[in-house]
């Protein structure tokens, strides 16, 4: 079948089973937009209002479903607007395919209209990228892009397609297979290493599981849960891992790290065997690396060898996909005669329970002013703990992570690695588009929401009735908190002046707005909002602006040096 490059893009995406394409048109992608009109049958294109939002929405689609997210933007400013979203996905290892238009090959390098070196600009923030110079290579390149993005450690892949390549014709056959000689995906962990790990795990007296986003990305939640329960050991999860192991389980000690629980961080500090699975020893987690887990032998399971011993030296490295490695470990455990040292374990749990008893998440309730923590607890009640919660970046993000216990993976959708303000609303759109029947709540701040507020328009056009829970503290709260703690209360530029009337603003976009100031009204108003299942509701909730996120490990401190209140 002879097709143009543009038609090949559309046909290939359909053959590959892509449902949603998020994008924004422009000169250098007009052939592809035309092919969408003439050729597409099942592929649905969603027109955002800013290319950054397209990348975030596609990213969230992937986080919620596990399938790759798809983006289409034009050259020059279209591509540069997409950069923040690509970097966000890259830092959290999210498979994203970004197709960018480029000026015709004959004009590349001539400073042509809307020309930027997209491949060059995006190189450090993609898993791989391609410039397609020959239409004959287009289909195979698209196939490679999907393969690279979704296998191994996932990540974004960008394909830059010059306009003349979009117009050129060639025979199209869907490429069933892909072969990249320089790219080999590990499918299994080394059995000798797994044996060593199991021996070490069974010998532990003060064991600790520390698991992360890799368990979510690798769809290994059930294997992890089975393994951890079989051993009876405590488990803490990173911000990116939340939900992979149910928060309500007694073995869960909550999140660790800078704003993790006291018990999780203390248990990390005092453990003798640390079992790290699909987590990358981020500095928000380790605190001062010199003081990190001083007495622990470390097992680390990760699909990316470069993650292992990057920040913390590992005793038993295992390179492999977490689901497969855990299955192998479970199998060894089944055949094992030795059992964990129950006496040591019960002493360890006593110790952990004493840290738990400090009740580090307690906060001062109020009947006068709305406490941000209470908003999240209310959200949890109103949604029966079963919502998809997306978040922006700031204090509200930490409170959402702390006060909304997640029972299932892929329910908590936020930007951890890059910490990108402005993701919340597009993330909610991506999830709602993927899962129309799901309850989707976007927890945001009055600062973050303004970074992609234009997407309210997209939500109206495509009927995306998400609920926006804006913790409006009139401050860039996270910045204000650091200034209070570390800069002598000099609140330089952290006050959000001249805020819009959010209720009027969302009404002008055709949605429902609610302003809540009275703690007594919070729950009933929120129920009302969630009862409007076919409307987008923006809840402008005026919260206590003096509230800080606790507990906290100050930068440079060890995990045993938390500020509690």
């Amino acid at each position: 079948m002879e097709l143009t490059g543009a038609q090949i893009v559309v046909k290939f995406l359909e053959d590959e089973g892509v449902e949603h394409l998020w994008g924004y048109p422009g000169g250098a992608v007009l052939p592809i937009y035309d092919a969408l009109d003439t050729t597409a049958t099942t592929l649905k294109h969603i027109l955002v209002r800013h290319e950054q939002a397209a990348t975030h929405a596609a990213d969230a689609y992937s986080r919620a479903t596990g399938k790759p997210g798809l983006v289409l933007v034009t050259s020059g400013p279209g591509a540069t607007n997409a950069i923040t979203g690509i970097a966000t996905a890259y830092m959290d290892s999210i498979p994203l395919i970004v197709i960018t238009g480029q000026v015709p090959t004959s004009m590349i390098g001539l400073d042509a209209f809307q020309e930027v070196d997209t491949v060059g600009i995006s190189r450090p923030i993609v898993k791989h990228n391609f410039l397609v110079r020959d239409v004959a290579e287009l289909a195979q390149t698209l196939k490679k892009a999907f393969y690279i993005a979704t296998t191994g450690r996932p990540g974004p892949v960008l394909i830059d397609i010059p306009k003349d390549v979009q117009n050129a014709k060639t025979d199209y056959v869907y490429p069933e297979t892909v072969d990249i000689r320089s790219y080999n995906v590990v499918t299994k962990g080394h059995s000798g290493q797994i044996r060593k790990a199991v021996d070490l795990i069974l010998s532990a007296e003060r064991p600790m599981f520390y698991t992360g986003g890799g368990v979510v990305l690798g769809d290994a939640s059930s294997q992890l849960t089975e393994f951890v329960r079989a051993l009876g050991y405590p488990i803490t999860q990173t911000l990116m891992g939340l939900g992979a192991f149910p928060a309500s389980d007694a073995q869960s000690v909550g999140m660790l790290g800078m704003h993790g629980t006291y018990e999780a961080n203390m248990a990390m500090h005092h453990c003798d065997v640390l079992i790290a699975i699909g987590a990358r020893f981020d500095d928000r987690v380790t605190g001062n690396i010199e003081k990190f887990c001083p007495t622990a032998k470390v097992v680390h399971v990760d699909i990316d060898p470069a993650s292992i011993s990057k920040n913390v030296k590992v005793d038993v490295p295992i390179v492999g996909p977490v689901a497969q490695v855990l299955e192998d470990m479970l199998e060894m455990l089944r055949l094992e005669k030795r059992k964990p040292n129950q006496e040591a374990l019960s002493n360890w749990w006593k110790q952990i329970d004493s840290w738990r008893a400090i009740n580090c998440m307690a906060y001062q309730p109020s009947t006068k002013v709305i406490k941000p923590q209470a908003v999240i607890e209310t959200l949890h009640r109103v949604t029966q703990g079963d919502a998809y919660v997306t978040s922006d970046v700031g204090q509200h993000q930490m409170w959402a992570a702390q006060y909304y216990p997640f029972e299932k993976p892929r329910r908590w959708i936020n930007s951890g690695g890059l910490g990108t303000m402005g993701v919340g609303l597009p993330y909610a759109m991506g999830v709602k588009m993927a899962l129309p029947d799901a309850t989707v709540a976007c927890v945001t701040g009055e600062g973050s929401i303004q970074m992609n507020i234009q997407e309210l328009s997209t939500c109206l056009q495509y009927g995306l009735p998400v609920k926006i829970i804006c913790l409006n503290n009139r401050f860039l709260g996270m910045v204000r908190q650091w200034q209070e703690f570390f800069y002598d209360r000099r609140y330089s530029m952290s006050y959000m002046d001249s805020l819009p009337d959010f209720v009027k603003l969302v009404e002008s976009y055709g949605h429902v707005g609610m302003k809540v100031t009275d703690p007594a009204e919070l729950e009933s108003k929120m129920k009302e909002a969630f009862a409007m299942t076919d409307r987008l509701v923006f809840m402008d909730i005026q919260t206590d602006h003096t509230e800080n996120v606790y507990p906290m490990i100050p930068a440079g401190a060890g995990q045993n040096e938390m500020i509690l209140v």
Partner: protein, 163 residues
């Protein structure tokens, strides 16, 4: 410690900038770099010299392996290998210096490959210690221009880096 890392990569535009970009983005230093196609036109051989402790070098090798365009990587420093560099050096050669420089070149088994009324251009092949020693043996005021290829390396014996 100084390491010579050698790799085979796809002979594609952009492959070199991925390697160079990796080093600058992660704060590693490339001291020497050579790259050219091999007998297989689809593959280039890139050799670079970098400095780092064991853990840094391990990370560098892992990150290089992660690049999609890089097919195979070896840290030559880990095993027996041959290292060679080509030095081309232009020297002020007048009066008594002409004879003296000729003698010094002979001692180092360097060749004079170009001559003018006032200059010699000398070529020397060897490992870094040899090319360094030659440069150090020269009167610095006579050196007009120095061009060094950077190290090339290959494993000794039957071992080879292949796809």
């Amino acid at each position: 410690m100084r390491h010579i890392i050698s790799m085979l990569m796809e002979n594609e535009s952009g492959a070199l900038s991925r390697v160079a970009g990796l080093f600058s983005a992660r704060g590693y230093n490339i001291q020497e770099l050579t790259v050219a196609p091999t007998e297989d036109q689809t593959v280039s051989r890139l050799t670079l010299v970098t400095e780092g402790d064991e853990q840094q070098i391990e990370q560098i090798v892992k990150h290089l392996n992660r690049l999609i365009d890089v097919v195979k990587v070896v840290d030559l420093t880990n095993g027996e290998h041959i290292e060679r560099e080509l030095l081309l050096i232009k020297l002020m050669a007048t009066g008594a210096h002409r004879e003296e420089l000729k003698r010094l070149a002979d001692i180092f088994r360097a060749q004079i490959v170009d001559v003018s009324a006032t200059t010699y251009t000398v070529q020397l092949v060897g490992d870094k210690s040899k090319t360094d020693a030659f440069i150090n043996a020269l009167d610095a005021s006579l050196i007009l221009e120095t061009v060094r290829s950077g190290a090339l390396g290959i494993m000794r014996g039957e071992k080879r880096l292949q796809i």
